[in-house]
Amino acid sequence: MTDQMTTSRLQVNLVGLTKSDYRGSSSTLCQGCGHNSISSQIIAACYELDIVPENVIKFSGIGCSSKSPFYFLNRSFGFNGLHGRMPSLATGALFSDHTLKGIGVSGDGDTASIGMGQFKHVLRRNLRLVYIVENNGVYGLTKGQFSATAEEGLYLKSQGTNPYLPVDIAWEALVGNATFVARSFAGDPKQVKELIKAAFSHDGIAVLDIISPCVTFNNKDDAVHSYAWGKEHEVALHELSYVPMAEEIMVDYEEGEAKEVTMHDGSKVILKKLERDYDPTNRAHAMRILEEANAKSWLLTGLIYINPHQMSLMDIYNITETALNRLPERRIRPARETMQRVNEMMF
């Protein structure tokens, strides 16, 4: 596709594509939304992994996060399905051509509330799917309700104080027998990209719980926040038609380091990056460090657990080499001679 001239002018990867070949349409999400940063890192990861976009299918459910697949890999097939039902759609679709790589983008509402059942079951089937949860603890598209991952005691202007304990997606993934569990922060592009690359290389379900702050709804008026807009527009939250410009929160920190981050709403989150020599293949150990981090109110980031030995769903079903959706009639309709035998098998 790419001729000599273009190659010399633009930087191409091993499959001869430029980074722009991985782009999507322009984002319609709010300025400064962590989701956009994640889309950029998906583009970067696929480019660096030399993935041909036609070899990828994108999936999503419903919500702000679920719009994301429109903002990367325009040359890949995609399907924006139903709220909380992305895993089932992806399961069926990925069988149509088992050589395709799947990437699903979900949100905390889409995964931890309405989609909890399908999330848990796609884990135990070990579908070959990069499953990204863009986790902001809030419902954006319906303008600011608590999600199931919102921490107890969180205050939202329109909702009051959240009385419930949160769902921890990484923890649920680990308990649910996911074979790849990672967590990151949207404002740490280096780590996000590396984890996405690792997830694409995993032959099974790869869950990435990415904390992705909502610039618009996860705010509170008494916070010590970095942006002046919060106070100015506090009243407008119920009937918001203007979304202010906000800077995305960026961090850069080393393995083993803990980093305090001030969120858009002024709240503080402590990110704790896993140690460089951490062994992510020990599930019991992974559970222990997650629990310890929770006790300290730290958000542990990095590759928490990986099991590369579990059979993926495609392997369990021992699918033939040709893509199922290219099989001709003679390979899927039994021969005419069998009809009589079948009738004889009845009584």
Partner: protein
């Protein structure tokens, strides 16, 4: 037993009229006792004797311990619908002994296990006590199997008194136990012992017996769920996702049973060309099937009413995003959990409209077990051609009972895969195509499938508003045009669905319209009406949308009785919507109590309005 002695003496022993090959036998047992094997053995033996026969299991939603009945109808003229009258009762369950006795017609026969110590308070039936416990004890069967083989006692005694061929009973057992000699010999041993006991100890005092015929030679015996699964396999099913639910479970299980036998890939026999997944619920079952259908696989799911309620969400998306898949609804009694083990035709309007917003779905309505097979493969062709979900409405009576039916026929046409563009097609088109553009004027657009490597092949599927290029759009014109095109496509569907079957009687002015498993009862009712001088034509509907044949049938009859097994007359409602100008000619005969309709009910309903 003094009472019994009197009755035996009271009933005349000889010089009775003979009733040959025209009666019903009902067996009352406890579910979980293994009686199904015995009942199927009788049914199959009669079938192998060449006698038209049907069997219906009336069972509770329970694993063990509740009353269950099995009714066998034998009819030399081939009228095999359920009937209310019961000539022969076999009472094995003390709990229903009294009501079972009360249900026998005058002059009928009452077999019962003699350890049930209850009074026989009718003089107008012939009682035959059966020493079930004694014969089981004498069989030397292992103690853990005694309860199961107890039911073989009545098989042997009935065989002797009704003259059922023992060789055919052996054949039936051999089939049931897949030629495994151990259970065959054990069960047949009990049958034979009971037969011998009856021969020596019972003097026949009733008129009922069977005689071999040659009326079933061209038939097989099968259930509708197995037939549906086999049909799907011959339709090239590649993906099936399901969740267990009575009465649809055995459809998916038949897929799992027969796919490994029938779908050996000629090129790579060690690898699979199909996937069957038991999903976590019906939401996921249909979600997976929609994903696979979008990906270009012949994809299906099977369920019943409650599962269908959960599937409404993805069914609506599939209609709107134009994704082919096949959804079998083996109907049971609703609303709600309803009666899981009883039959009905109550899902018709729900399925027709399933999905919020303006939605119209394509429905196939098989009217025999053979047609369950045919629609099993045909539904894929229709769905892929229309890029729509296709619902096939069977019911528990078809799905879970054994029916005499014509042998399954190999599909008479090559697979119709619909409008799919692959890389070569897109090269020819220079990559110029639009997923939702009506190029051919039939409302059916072209689609590409994931895995198509042409750089212009990909599009973004969605349940949200879209333009012809599948881009998100809130443009009023885009939305309006899209819904109008879907309507046009539904109109095109009329050319693709099976046409109704019309049976005419010269001079008939009234018509009967019905669908599905009521067919046998309607055929019998028409016969009975004709005997009373009322001629009828019969349109057996096989699909929705309605075709021109339906319009002319309604137009050309003075009165049309719409017969169905539901409360509200759902087909009647749909017909009135479709043909408002003929609404006054359409009369509803709708009834639901969980049991299959009888010819008597249909006949009397029509007579009450005609006379």
């Amino acid at each position: 037993m003094a009472v019994l002695q009197e009755i035996q003496e009271a009933v005349p022993v000889t010089e009775q009229r003979q009733v040959v090959n025209d009666f019903s036998i009902t067996v009352g047992t406890v579910n979980g006792s293994g009686s199904q094997t015995s009942n199927l053995t009788i049914l199959r033996a009669l079938f192998k004797m060449g006698i038209p026969v049907s069997g219906k299991n009336l069972f509770p939603s329970n694993i063990q311990g509740l009353p269950t009945w099995y009714t066998i109808r034998i009819n030399k003229d081939g009228f095999l619908a359920r009937k209310d009258e019961n000539e022969i009762m076999v009472a094995m369950n003390p709990a229903t002994f009294a009501s079972d006795l009360a249900g026998v017609v005058p002059g009928g026969v009452f077999f019962y296990a003699d350890d049930i110590n209850l009074p026989i308070d009718r003089q107008d039936v012939v009682p035959y006590p059966m020493p079930v416990k004694r014969l089981v004890r004498e069989s030397n069967a292992p103690s853990n199997l005694r309860d199961y083989i107890a039911n073989m006692v009545y098989v042997g005694i009935l065989a002797q008194l009704l003259e059922i061929d023992l060789d055919k009973i052996f054949q039936a057992l051999n089939f049931h136990f897949k030629s495994n000699p151990k259970p065959v010999d054990l069960n047949f041993g009990v049958v034979k012992a009971a037969y011998d006991w009856a021969e020596q100890n019972i003097t026949k005092r009733d008129p009922y017996r069977v005689e071999a015929m040659d009326a079933t030679r061209d038939c097989i015996m099968a259930d509708g769920n197995t037939a549906a699964a086999l049909g799907a396999i011959y339709g090239g099913v590649q993906f099936a996702a399901w969740y267990p639910i009575t009465p649809a479970t055995s459809l998916a299980e038949a897929l799992q049973e027969y796919l490994p036998l029938l779908r050996k890939d000629p090129e790579h026999p060690d690898r699979n060309t199909y996937v069957v997944i038991q999903a976590e619920d019906e939401l996921a079952a249909i979600g997976q099937a929609v994903g696979a259908g979008w990906g270009g696989l012949r994809s299906m799911t099977s369920t019943s009413g409650p599962g269908l309620s959960l599937m409404a969400e993805y069914a609506g998306l599939a209609y709107f995003a134009e994704i082919p898949l096949v959804i079998w609804d083996v109907q049971r009694v609703g609303p709600s959990t309803g009666l899981p083990t009883r039959t009905a035709q109550g899902d018709l309007t729900f399925v027709y409209f399933i999905g919020h917003g303006d939605t119209q779905q394509v429905i196939l309505l098989p009217g025999s077990v053979n047609e369950c097979f045919e629609f099993g493969w045909r539904a894929f062709d229709i769905g892929e051609q229309l890029q729509m979900p296709v619902f096939v409405l069977s019911d528990l009576d078809f799905g879970m009972n054994q029916w005499m039916t014509e042998p399954f026929e190999y599909p008479n046409q090559a697979m119709q895969r619909g409008k799919v563009l692959w890389e070569g097609d897109l090269n020819r088109l220079n990559g110029q195509w639009a997923r939702y553009m009506d190029v051919d004027g039939d409302g059916i657009p072209y689609r590409t499938l994931p895995g198509n490597r042409h750089p212009r092949a990909a599009y973004f599927g969605r349940g949200t508003g879209h333009d012809e290029y599948a881009n998100y759009s809130e443009d009023p014109k885009d939305w309006h045009d899209l819904l109008e095109r879907l309507k046009k496509k539904y109109h095109t569907a009329r050319q693709h669905v099976p046409k109704p079957i019309i049976e005419s009687t010269p001079g008939a002015e009234i018509g009967i319209v019905a669908f599905g498993s009521t067919r046998l009862a309607i055929e019998e009712a028409r016969h009975q009406l004709a005997e009373r001088g009322i001629k009828t034509d019969y349109l057996r509907l096989r699909a929705i949308p309605f075709t021109d044949e339906m319009a002319s049938f309604v137009e050309n009859h003075s009165c049309i009785y719409v017969v169905e097994m539901n409360r509200d007359g759902q087909l009647h409602q749909l017909l009135k919507m479709e043909y408002p100008q003929y609404a006054t000619k359409l009369a509803s005969i709708a009834y639901t109590d969980g049991l299959p309709l009888t010819a008597r009910f249909i006949r009397e309903s029509i007579l009450s309005q005609e006379v």
